[in-house]
């Protein structure tokens, strides 16, 4: 080439969609898969687990203790240890991220259900709601804001944590960081950081939107008091 390093925009244009593996577009899609799947898995596991912890109180202490320990495990060594079980695949990144997600969501689900005022629960019982309908129609909707707050944390941290997977060759946009380090060159780092932060912001924004749609009364109440 011999014409000096390309500028940031040139580099993006040249690498956006090369048709080969490792193009920015490819990495972006991988990144989305590896971050969204754990978020969904975490939700699917944490909701029933949280409900169980509320129903059977003795379960919460050991469950949250265990999740505290899980949360303290650094991601890289966990990925490494999982390689011998699940190989150099996306699964190796997805499983630990899902666990971290459960660790954050479990207290949120339990806290959310605990935030249902006792008088609301009592009056639902008095009006003849069956336990299942009470859960679906009364308790879960009231718990939504707290659960969604937890989900926002999970979404943003999952999206940024995926990039560590690059150290085992499965990091989505994190791949841009390892590439930039091996062949010292700044543009991929910038692109990687910006795209990951953007993804995180979009996910966060969507969840805020979801909360507004799911719990219109929260906003109405704020408007009324201000």
């Amino acid at each position: 080439m011999g014409e000096g390093p390309p500028s940031l925009w040139e580099w993006i244009g040249r690498n956006w969609d090369t048709g080969r593996a490792g193009s920015i577009k490819d990495l972006l899609l991988d990144h989305l898969t590896m971050s969204l799947v754990p978020i969904l898995l975490a939700l699917v596991v944490a909701l029933p687990l949280g409900l169980a912890c509320v129903r059977w109180r003795w379960l919460y202490q050991p469950a949250s203790g265990l999740m505290n320990v899980v949360y303290a495990l650094p991601s890289l060594p966990v990925f490494m240890l999982l390689i011998s079980v699940t190989g150099l695949t996306q699964t190796t990144v997805i499983i630990p991220l899902a666990f971290y997600g459960v660790a954050v969501l479990l207290p949120a689900v339990v806290g959310g259900l605990d935030s249902v005022p006792d008088h609301v629960r009592q009056s639902a019982v008095a009006m003849g709601f069956t336990p299942r309908r009470r859960l679906l129609a009364v308790e879960l909707p009231i718990a939504v804001p707290v659960v969604l707050a937890g989900l926002r944390v999970v979404a943003v941290s999952s999206i940024s944590l995926v990039s560590v997977g690059a150290l085992i060759g499965q990091g989505g946009l994190g791949g841009l960081f390892t590439r930039a380090y091996q062949n010292p060159f700044m543009p991929p780092v910038i692109v990687g950081i910006v795209l990951i932060v953007l993804l995180a912001l979009i996910a966060d924004g969507l969840l805020v939107l979801a909360q507004r749609l799911l719990t219109p009364w929260v906003r109405a109440r704020k408007g009324a008091t201000s």
Partner: protein, 230 residues
């Protein structure tokens, strides 16, 4: 169950190898390095974040700073930040790596210190001023002891984060236990990868345990409500 057999084989290979227990690349040295880098970064983060959180929580000025830093710290990819700093500042010293470590561990402490101070019952603050405590005394004698569980939670979360990030930082040339994992992966020395990983996990758990114990010792039983009924 093949993987379980190879796991123990690698463990035996790693921990049974006498060479791994001495010299600059030996386990004691790496452990010490890991401790040193983590402690240094955490200490600097505490020195920055705790006073800042106390002041913002006490005066109510600068709340936006807390919110932004909290969200940004969660969204910023650690590996990307590490690579960026190393590319910008070189690898002549450990600082290009320590700086991002500190940056990433400030927000959890800042947010929790701030929330802890801000969340103290306004009546308590009112009573303290009403009895003639000065601003600094209210902060030091009332607000901090009451907010201590949250301040320590912030420090614990930061410590967890620092231990993990120090591991990742081995990729950009930092010493510590991460070296076994990164080098082992590069050279297909799986004994090193597995052994190193187990060491890091144990290290993280010990750190978590120490913080939990510190919390039990320093938080007043009147606040934690952990008290023997007489």
């Amino acid at each position: 169950m093949n993987w379980l057999i190879s796991f123990f084989a690698w463990m035996g290979e790693f921990f049974g190898n006498g060479e791994n227990w001495s010299g600059p690349g030996g386990i004691p040295m790496r452990l010490l390095e890991h401790l040193e880098f983590s402690a240094l970064a955490l200490l600097l983060a505490v020195l920055v974040a705790v006073p800042l959180g106390l002041v913002i929580g006490h005066t109510g000025r600068g709340e936006v700073l807390v919110v932004i830093s909290a969200n940004l710290a969660r969204a910023l990819p650690t590996l990307g930040l590490l690579v960026m700093f190393v590319l910008l500042l070189g690898t002549a010293s450990i600082w290009p790596v320590i700086i991002p470590l500190v940056l990433l561990s400030v927000p959890p402490i800042l947010v929790n210190t701030f929330e802890g101070i801000k969340g103290v019952d306004p009546d308590l603050r009112d009573a303290a001023y009403g009895m003639g405590l000065r601003g600094g005394q209210v902060l030091g004698r009332v607000l901090v002891p009451v907010a201590l569980p949250l301040i320590l939670l912030g420090c614990r979360l930061s410590a967890i984060q620092v231990v993990a990030t120090t591991t990742v930082a081995a990729y950009t040339g930092l010493g510590g236990l991460g070296r076994y994992v990164i080098d082992g992966f590069a050279t297909k020395d799986y004994a090193g990868v597995v052994g190193g990983s187990v060491l890091i996990v144990l290290f993280a758990l010990v750190v978590q345990l120490l913080f939990t114990l510190a919390q039990r010792v320093t938080v007043s039983p009147g606040v934690s409500r952990r008290v023997n009924v007489r």
